[in-house]
Symmetry: C2
Subunit: 291 residues, 2 copies
Amino acid sequence: MKHLGRGMKMDANEERYLSAYRMEDYDRPSVTTDIVAFTVRSEEDESWRRDSKDNRLSVLLIQRGEHPFINHWAIPGGFLRMDETLEECALREIREETGVNPVSIMPAGTFSACGRDPRGRVISNAFTTIISEESARLMASDDAVDAKWFDVYYERNEAEAYVLKLVGENVTLEAKLEAKGKQFGRTVFGIVDSGGLAFDHAVILASALETLRDKAESFEVIFDFLPEKFTLTALQKVQETILNVSLLPANFRRKIADYVVETDEYTAGAGHRPAKLYRRKETERNGIRKW
Amino acid sequence: MKHLGRGMKMDANEERYLSAYRMEDYDRPSVTTDIVAFTVRSEEDESWRRDSKDNRLSVLLIQRGEHPFINHWAIPGGFLRMDETLEECALREIREETGVNPVSIMPAGTFSACGRDPRGRVISNAFTTIISEESARLMASDDAVDAKWFDVYYERNEAEAYVLKLVGENVTLEAKLEAKGKQFGRTVFGIVDSGGLAFDHAVILASALETLRDKAESFEVIFDFLPEKFTLTALQKVQETILNVSLLPANFRRKIADYVVETDEYTAGAGHRPAKLYRRKETERNGIRKW
DNA sequence: CAAATAGTGTCTCTAAGACAATATCAC
DNA sequence: GTGATATTGTCTTAGAGACACTATTTG
């Protein structure tokens, strides 16, 4: 057994204590991770001289094949194994259920309300991850995977109420949420209508979406949606899609300038002026850590 | 049993499944919360015409009375009970161990490395909380409580290395940390030398401190350190202490203006111009939620 | 050349930092 | 008045948003 951060050798008393200690003597909850995977998909409208115009933010859901909430749509996830960290668990689950290897994951909150799982006490650690459009397309064409992408429409109507609309190929889910308050920049959501989502997954989705928007605003996540080399216009569209805003190219370019590096390459054959391809700049602020 | 977010009645199959389901059949980790409590203490230098000059940021530690890490200093915390959320657990533990009822708590990360607790697999959910100077003084004078305040000195030397110095009444702990990388605005710390702190608590402390600084910069937490009514100078000193910077009063006042409301009251008897007392303004951004 | 997108220059406005000046108390 | 802190005014600078303009490709 490895001990982190010991400044001292273990003494005989401690040895004795530890060999007598039995975790099974105490109540323990189950622990899961849930991984909210986002992608930005561009319209497949390939008419000449017209780039993909409308991008859509999409989230990955799976239809549960087992009790509880059988046949309901749910966020991918699963139980923590005893030999992995929460981050490793999240990555394993998303790989197992979708075949996709995400670039990175970020924590999106812990959910520990007592009644959230009918099987008993289950603590969920939520993560948000980004899947590039390429990977998402590959995944979608793989029939072995029963996960589906749902377009996300997020609306806030007057009175503190949020509507989260998830549009799949043949299904539309519409969850209603309320804002119970703000705690240190994070909204605390409550479910008004789960809209058919399993467990408290409507709340987890809303929280993950809020995390994503925060990080997209500060350019922390928009790069992961695109290939290694990209045009600034594509990057701008990703941010616009996530934040649901419209930006002026001149201003976007000024703001993003410190985060990207030029390459020598250009796009071609699009019927208009070619665009220079850029690459993400590795700054001190983002020592990129792939899990 | 209460089910959150069901759009459907439970059917007979599900009933059957659930009554057959036994959590005990699966491996589960233990789950704890650790609560990093901060306060800002002013110098007790009460010389005439001189307000308290140097404020110090302090953190609450307890000396462990039990194995493992007996006699080591540790962050207050404990195991999750089956009838409480993580937030409730955090508040219960800090109350039990210090008698203090914090205004609010904020999540500061989850720690799930496999070797972090010699007793077995233990997942820690860290929280950061603020204790007002008044409460901290009351607590410190209560002999029943074995928790002690340590002044925090945080230093980053050249090469990615951080030194966390904790100065108590008779003890000084000095932990050394390395930055393994940045992940979405949060540093991932590793222990180089635990400096005598229990478990991986040096890492948790460093993470909590980083969370605190982030939130202090955006005025999200500085109010909790002070009584309901406060002078702007006191507020400024709190921020300066946490961020370890020096600010110009004029600029601080302009920035803080939107977050505070005047009262009719003034300080008096200080040997200089009285200061107006202010109160925190409740904005849309901070629907304050006391747990 | 026309259509379409890529990319630049610059004006305005706001907010932050620096710094100077004024205000008001206890003694 | 003196010493100390409170509070206000304003100059300068950096960055964001708006908008007009130029550039380069394919057909």
